[in-house]
Subunit: 98 residues, 2 copies
Amino acid sequence: MLRHVVLFTWAEGTTGEQLERLTTRLAELPGLIPEIESFDFGSDAEINEGNHDFGIVAEFADRDSFVVYRDHPAHQAVIKECIAPIRDQRAALQFETG
Amino acid sequence: MLRHVVLFTWAEGTTGEQLERLTTRLAELPGLIPEIESFDFGSDAEINEGNHDFGIVAEFADRDSFVVYRDHPAHQAVIKECIAPIRDQRAALQFETG
């Protein structure tokens, strides 16, 4: 399996409404992109100081399936319409598991 | 469940031997810290440009279990002995799932 992880910090002035719109659109992706095997996301639980604000952890059968997701129009639309307007920092990684 | 995610970039000059030692020590943690429900880690798969170098994704029953892991001597020893000497950037997050 290939695990995809991305963490974001949000720009100053990001609103609850913008975050709600993002989570609604993210929740639609597994139904639109069958290559997604598992898809979890959420805001930081505020246990530790200095964390990022939001994270997505997804799983794919292999590299090719991840690339289909990465380049899929539905995913690209969420990036363009919901993430890019509020994004400050981004940290990402894909790694093989099991 | 609570998901813990941490991504690192490594300092220039980090050796394969240092990474091997880290992965060996990380692999020991689930046996030493029963609060760990799942524990996956690995180096970037080099599919995308600009990614971090290494990531850990772990799951805990709840916040308290995560805090036990965070403060556990075995975990703290891995941070001190294996991560701190090679660490450049760090991005982390904990979020509730399910």
